[in-house]
């Protein structure tokens, strides 16, 4: 089955990004496909390459990037939400790209299920 995922919150402050990541990992583990993860609202902060968690903590920015690479998951940062919050090309982590809200609608149409993770 094909999944689309919407992430509404940044890493660390809320568990939303963790839950979305764990869900995506499990879906891939079950043989499903995760077409795209769309980062909206504060979710754009998941793409900040300057994020440097403590050494014994998980690094969600990296984990998302690795998943994108290994499993061809498309990671899209909402351009309007990103501008407002200062998540632009200058700080964009590997594996993410910036695009418009059409990418959210598109994955909603293309996927069998769209799941939202947020506050």
């Amino acid at each position: 089955m094909k999944f689309g995922i919407l992430v509404n919150e940044g890493p660390f402050n809320h568990q939303a990004s963790d839950s979305a990541y764990q869900f995506a990992k499990a879906a891939i583990g079950r043989g499903h496909q995760v077409l795209r993860v769309f980062f909206y609202y504060d979710g754009v902060n998941n793409a900040n390459k300057l994020s440097e968690p403590q050494s014994d903590d998980r690094n969600l920015v990296k984990l998302w990037g690795e998943m994108a690479k290994t499993h061809k998951v498309d990671l899209v940062v909402c351009v309007a939400a990103g501008m407002r919050r200062g998540i632009k090309d200058e700080v964009l982590a590997e594996g993410f790209h910036i695009s418009g809200l059409g990418q959210l609608t598109e994955v909603g149409i293309a996927a069998d299920r769209l799941l939202v993770f947020g506050d």
């Binding site: 919407l6 509404n8 077409l35 795209r36 909206y40 609202y41 994108a68 498309d74 990671l75 899209v76 309007a80 939400a81 594996g95 993410f96 790209h97 695009s99 418009g100 809200l101 059409g102 959210l104 609608t105 598109e106 994955v107 909603g108 149409i109 293309a110 769209l114 939202v116 947020g118």
Partner: protein, 130 residues
């Protein structure tokens, strides 16, 4: 930059419902989700918006956040009709609990009971909460 995949969505029309549960101005969700509603409509999807819980405050008349330096985005709800988004539902239970009447709203809405809204939600392909 990664390559951007393009999915085949040609001719597919899905039922998208936006589930608006938050009060305006306290958080930015109501403002940003509205942009997404307009895009779904522009993609010619069968788009509707449900206002329930504190989401019913989003369409209260007379909003004026000038003193806070914020933008009044409530007029955009009136623009939805121009995008063929005419399915605007307000849950009666939420409206009543907050002392609001249909006259309080900036747009024409259809007031539905919780039971009716539950049925509408169950008919959707996509539910987006923000």
């Amino acid at each position: 930059m990664s390559e951007e995949p393009v999915f085949d969505t040609q001719g597919v029309v899905k039922k998208f419902m936006y589930v608006n549960r938050r009060a305006p101005y306290g958080t930015i969700y109501p403002l940003e989700i509205l942009e997404s509603v307009l895009v779904a409509a522009a993609f010619e999807q069968d788009t509707s918006v449900a206002f329930l819980d504190d989401g019913v405050f989003q369409i209260k008349k007379g909003q004026d956040p000038k003193e806070l330096g914020m933008k009044n985005f409530s007029p955009t709800f009136r623009a939805l009709a121009g995008y063929d988004v005419e399915k605007l539902y307000v849950e009666k239970e939420s409206m009543d609990a907050r002392g609001l009447k249909v006259d309080d709203f900036v747009v024409k809405v259809r007031v539905v009971s919780a039971a009716e809204l539950a049925k509408l939600m169950a008919e959707q392909d996509i539910l987006i909460t923000g």
